[in-house]
Amino acid sequence: MYGNAFIDPNDPRNKQEVEESQELLDAFQAKIDNGQKIEPSDWMPKMYRKQLTRMIEQHANSELIGALPEGTWITRAPNFKRKMALIAKVQDEVGHAQLLYNAAETLGKSREAMLNDLMIGKAKYSNVFNYPAETWGDIAVIGFLVDGAAIVNQLINSKGSYGPYCRALKRICAEEAFHLKQGHDNLVALAVGTPEQRQMLQDAVNRWWQPLMHFFGPPDKQSVHSEQLMRWKVKLASNDDMRNQFLDQYVPKILELGLSIPDPNLRKNSETKRWEMSDPDWDEFYRVIKGDGPCNKERLAVRRWVKEHHQWVTDALLRPERVRTVPLA
């Protein structure tokens, strides 16, 4: 998932691998409770390192793979403004991947290892990028709504406890402001345009709605609940809370344009202040995670092609005297 990938601490395979001294654990917890950030050279529980590596790595993968659906329309953007905005936006996503791989590397896994695991299908990324960008309307929906959902998640994660991840997210969130604006600008242009443009946009909203509802992960009642992740400030909000926040912010912006949302049961309960909706197809969600979405195969094939096609560039400049160092990020 985006910055939303957690290891189930209740799974016996993940039970505390080594005895970690209670004293160290307490000092670590006290630091976090104090609002201090954890830095790469600090002591940290094995499980914390593992959780964060997985989370940041998957986030980085999502940025990199996220460049592909939007890249689909780079050569076809319809005017100067859109063409330059789209290239700059996709470029930023590659930049986010770069920052996040650095942050993940500080925990001990190298960039090559992460890119390898990605291209062989061992590592995951956000499911939302396994769907195709079929028309230009999809670019508006991705730019505004997928980025909108990502921002909800990233803003929350930026309050987390791991220093390098927070630093990367601070810059990322600042850049997302532009993504959101250009996405909204594109969306509005289509929404107020010709009937054909509106139809193209509505079709895109219809296609992306379910992946968007999947974006924050399964409902709280089904998902792994971890007190510890919350205490460690690794996970800072529940899936349902984030989904609810997204709906609060974005449903009105869709409806004000006279667009419809393809869920007749979507409504806000005025008493609980929570959104109610039809249950999205979670079987599909798990199917896509397992690799069976409409674009999984292409996404990985592209990453393998990138590696193979450009291998000569890397090979040519490998210096024998180079040393492997962990970036400071």
Binding site: P78, N79, T314
Partner: protein, 253 residues
């Protein structure tokens, strides 16, 4: 009036080159060789498209031509004046780097001279973007040098890309029928003079990198672009670029 025609011709070919090359280079965005280089190359693609936009804007504001979006996205192949070098498909990174190296050194020298053009809007633009082009040539030179001195394979790839691209690069300098006017009007000293300076510059760099400069006296320059005769690659490029905007010519996007 003759002066106007001469300036317009210069602006159109510069703008068309920049748009088509920027478009070609953006084909690497998201799938470039390393993350950092992907970002750098995307930036330069944006710069190029930005240059095209600004040149079309001068045409629009000073010569009554249509607005930049129409000039960029709604002209037919037969109205484009770009050189063949920028039209060639993006095949591998060696070729893209070499094209960027050859083109941007020419562009840098061209804009350097245009800073003193008697046509103020163009001189202004040339001053404004000189820093951008300085970065482009620095980037190109660092990469060409490193890969030329990398290993056998990378050296061979760069050398063969240079050999392949050179006749097309000479097409950048296809003379125009307005050369004399541009000189007399103190706008631009002409394509021939530019080519001479360019050959000197890149020959030094190519040789310093340990590569071989092709003998350009025996090469046949690929001409015709400036007269709107194009390679078979331009038409499909334009069809692709305008796929969305052609859905509805009257819609605004």
């Amino acid at each position: 009036m003759h002066r106007d025609e001469a300036i317009k011709e210069l602006l159109f070919k510069m703008a068309d080159d920049a748009l088509i090359l920027g478009h070609r280079n953006s084909e690497w965005t998201g799938i470039g060789p390393t993350l950092e280089e992907d970002i750098a190359f995307s930036s330069m693609a944006q710069d190029k498209i930005g240059h095209a936009f600004q040149l079309y804007t001068i045409l629009h504001e000073h010569f009554g031509e249509a607005n930049p979006d129409i000039l960029g996205f709604k002209r037919s192949e037969k109205e484009f004046k770009c050189c063949h070098l920028v039209e060639l498909p993006t095949v591998d990174y060696a070729f893209s780097l070499v094209r960027h190296f050859l083109f941007d050194y020419a562009d840098g020298l061209r804009y350097e001279e245009l800073q003193n053009a008697s046509f103020e809007p163009l001189a202004q633009l040339a001053k404004k973007i000189k820093g951008e082009i300085k970065y482009h040539t620095m980037h190109a030179n660092v990469w060409i040098k490193l890969l030329a001195q990398g290993n056998e394979e990378s050296k061979a790839r760069i050398q063969s890309a240079i050999n392949e691209a050179m006749p097309y690069a000479l097409g950048i300098f296809e003379p125009s029928e307005y050369e004399k006017t541009l000189q007399e009007e103190k706008i631009f000293s002409g394509e021939n003079a530019l080519q001479t300076k360019w050959v000197e510059t890149i020959q030094t760099l190519i040789e310093k990198a340990g590569l071989e400069m092709p003998d350009i006296t025996i090469l046949k320059p690929q001409l015709g672009g400036r007269k709107a005769y194009h390679t078979e690659h331009l038409k499909p490029l334009l069809d692709e670029m305008t796929e969305v905007v052609r859905m509805d010519e009257n819609a605004s996007w």
